[in-house]
């Protein structure tokens, strides 16, 4: 068989040129820069539908879908219907990168929505940045994400480092005789949990509240009994738990109950905000009573759009209003902010959306006002502390905020 060296060389050159052209085309796609058409606007997102974050991931999916339903019922964005393209990242930091690369580079989605958790948002935001997409997200509020200082990141939720501010301020406001005198700070090794608890500790210690325990435990711990027993053995009056999910806080509560130890005040970074999922996991409303959690939203949030969303959620997915997960509102807010930005700029272009969102404009969402600083933090987000009281999840702090009810302090004893 005769060889064709010239043909092979031309073939190689041609292939290289084609690859280079494809690469350039891919890299310069410029974030949703496809020419507008009458077809639907495709929004791509990666969610943790399985894996460690699946409870939150599925709640996010419902929030996104609810928003899509609503926006389409009102004519869509710029007259175009909206369609979601959701990929499952299995709670994996590696898979989330693959998914957003796939969504942007292969599926050529028009816009992207963020995933769940700071752990996944940080690597995903870098992918979006590479392709000049505006990366609007609702669950990446930790310093891990903002520390990247990416111009394309916009977190509609509350920055997590400040989430416990209302709690700390409330402790400061108490007469010295009523303040807890000792505290414990067990923290999961997670960018969401540790910053806020460490910040709270640094502010409570100068008040004379003695730290009896402050340690970081692995996030993947399958059995928290030894940790809970150690904390219970020290009998702190306040427990500020850096939890990331329901099992962590439920395990500590269970451990405390078994040790016949009940803190005067118990606030957890996450878990009690998971509505009915939390209540059922901890054995009912009696045990949940008095448990506190920081957040920017709760199902009773006094806003007409929030109430409409909650009612619609209950009608669509069942359950009760108090069982609606805060993740739903965070996801819904991502959609609202995106729609307002697209309508204002009349564009799906990433650079235009990024410039608009950095302009200092204040947008609205079911979680309240949204305005971004240079690193994408929502500077208008207001921190609240919520508490379970007699089977209801209510806002208690700041005490002066509209909608706050008197805080249950000291916390009632375990029910069983």
């Amino acid at each position: 068989m005769r060889s064709h060296p010239h043909r092979a060389r031309y073939l190689a050159l041609g292939t290289t040129a084609l690859l280079a052209a494809a690469l350039i085309a891919g890299c310069s796609s410029g974030g949703g820069s496809k020419p507008s058409s009458s077809g639907p606007i495709i929004i791509g997102t990666s969610l943790s539908l399985t894996g460690d974050f699946s409870t939150d991931g599925i709640a996010f999916e419902k929030g996104y879908e609810l928003w899509v339903h609503d926006i389409n019922a009102h004519g869509g964005i710029m007259g175009r219907k909206v369609q979601l393209d959701i990929l499952n990242d299995n709670s994996s930091q590696t898979q989330v990168v693959t998914n957003y690369t796939d969504l942007i580079n292969v599926k050529h989605v028009d816009l992207t929505f963020g995933p769940f958790s700071s752990l996944l948002t940080a690597p995903a935001a870098e992918v979006a940045h590479r392709y000049n997409f505006a990366f609007i997200e609702g669950a990446g509020g930790s310093p891990l994400v903002f520390g990247e200082k990416l111009p394309d990141v916009f977190d509609v939720a509350l920055p997590v480092a400040n989430e416990l501010d209302p709690f700390v301020n409330w402790i400061k406001s108490l007469p010295a005789s009523q303040r807890p005198t000792t505290a414990a700070y067990p923290m999961a090794n997670d960018p969401f949990a540790t910053p806020q608890v460490q910040l709270a500790q640094s502010e409570l210690q100068p008040l004379g509240i003695k730290t009896l325990y402050s340690k970081i435990f692995p996030e993947e711990e399958p059995d928290y009994l030894p940790n809970a027993d150690i904390v219970a053995g020290k009998k702190p009056q306040a427990v500020i738990l850096g939890s990331v999910d329901v099992p962590t806080v439920a395990a500590f509560m269970k451990g405390f109950e078994e040790q016949h130890y009940n803190p005067k005040v118990f606030v957890a970074a996450a878990g009690p905000d998971q509505g009915s999922a939390f209540e059922s996991a901890v054995g009912g409303p009696g045990n949940a009573n008095g448990m506190m959690v920081p957040d920017a939203w709760y199902p009773g949030y006094p806003s007409a759009t929030s109430q409409a969303m909650v009612n619609e959620y209950v009608a669509k997915y069942g359950g009760t209003a108090s069982g609606v997960n805060a993740d739903v509102a965070e996801a819904y807010s991502v959609g609202e902010v995106t729609a307002q930005a697209v309508e204002a700029t009349h564009s799906l272009s990433g650079p235009k959306l990024i410039a608009y969102l950095h302009s200092g404009v204040t947008l609205t969402s079911v979680e309240g006002p949204v305005s971004f600083n240079s690193i994408g933090e929502n500077v208008k987000a207001i921190a609240f502390i919520f508490q379970w009281q007699n089977g209801k999840f209510v806002q208690v702090l700041p005490t002066t905020a509209t909608g706050s009810v008197p805080i249950l302090y000291p916390k009632t004893n375990w029910s069983s």
Binding site: L49, T50, G51, D52, S54, T55, G57, I58, N189, K215, I216, F217, P218, E220, E221, P222, D223, Y224, L225, P226, N227, D229, I230, G233, D245, V246, P247, A250, A251, K254, G255, E257, E258, Q259, H260, Q274, S276, A277, F278, S280, A281, V282, G283, G284, W414, S416
Partner: protein, 292 residues
């Protein structure tokens, strides 16, 4: 500090019982069938969900419910073996059984997600959050129950393996399948029953696991690596060894939790590596087990 250490040791011993319950089936199945059942984690979760259904929907006490879940899981185990594993033979059998077990895990996880969703649930009974005061500190009832069940399960499995005709057939199969066939043992039947027993024991582990922590269909993944570490340390195939290894590892972990909890998982696996460096066959090696 002395009380903390004593409490940590007690927690470690009792926690080891829970892990032994979850790992006993894994080591039994490996010992007899040379199958690394990577579906063990999700089978534990399945056992927990069966207890959940009986408890929440039929109001059957968790311990009483074991009279239903253990036989149910036995049947599930036999069916899994018959459908997915029995036909796998030849040089690729080990890798194929790994894939088959992984497929089983995915199927079960999918079914559980469909039936129960992704919300965390937990098992409740009057004794789940109770504790007894012993030697100056409280010990959780459910852990004491779990440890008792673990010891009972090990004793029952020992009696089955070493005091029954079926047990002799099992051990003959463990030693040499071809020779077992030649002396008239129905190896397929023995294998199916053994797989069923291994899964049945997991029902008990699932009930205790679901009582000490909340869980979702995804929770099995957090378990499987620990269970494998325990049975490797024990010497794969050793049921009593699984209890000893689980107690050893969870006790070390609980002690590390006192000073440096973020190192506890590292130490858990480091302990396994150190032991295997000096005793590669594990604490109770498989050859020793099979020779008994």
């Amino acid at each position: 500090m002395g009380t903390e250490i004593a409490h940590a040791i007690a927690d470690g011993i009792l926690g080891g019982g829970v892990y032994a319950l979850m790992a006993a089936g894994l080591t039994l199945v490996f010992g007899v069938l040379d199958i690394i059942n990577v579906a063990q984690g999700i089978l534990v979760v399945l056992g927990a969900y069966l207890s959940y259904v009986l408890s929440v929907h039929l109001h059957i006490d968790l311990l009483v419910g074991l009279l239903i879940t253990v036989p149910a899981m036995f049947v599930i185990g036999v069916v899994i073996y018959w459908l997915f594993i029995r036909t796998l033979r030849g040089a690729e059998r080990t890798s194929m059984t790994l894939l088959a077990c992984f497929a089983v895990a995915l199927i079960i996880e999918g079914v559980l997600y469909r039936e129960f969703g992704s919300n965390y649930v937990s098992l409740n009974a009057w004794y789940v959050n109770q504790s007894v005061h012993i030697l100056g500190f409280y010990l959780a009832d459910i852990y004491l129950i779990g440890f008792g069940l673990a010891v009972a399960a090990v004793v029952v499995l020992y009696l089955i393996l070493y005091r029954t005709t079926f047990g002799r057939a099992v051990r003959a199969t463990m030693q040499n399948q071809t020779a077992a066939r030649l002396i008239g043992i129905d190896v397929n039947r023995v294998a199916a029953l053994t797989f069923g027993i291994g899964v049945a024991v997991t029902a008990i582990g699932g009930m205790v696991y679901g009582s000490i922590t909340s869980f979702t269909p995804n929770s099995g993944y957090d378990l499987i690596s620990r269970l494998l570490a325990i049975v490797i340390l024990a010497g794969m195939g050793s049921i009593g060894g699984a209890l000893a290894a689980a107690v050893f590892m969870t006790t070390i972990e609980a002690l590390v939790d006192i000073w440096q909890p973020d190192w506890s998982i590292v130490v858990f696996y480091l302990a396994m590596v150190i032991v295997l460096t000096f005793r590669p066959q594990g604490l109770f090696g498989r050859h020793a087990v099979r020779a008994q």
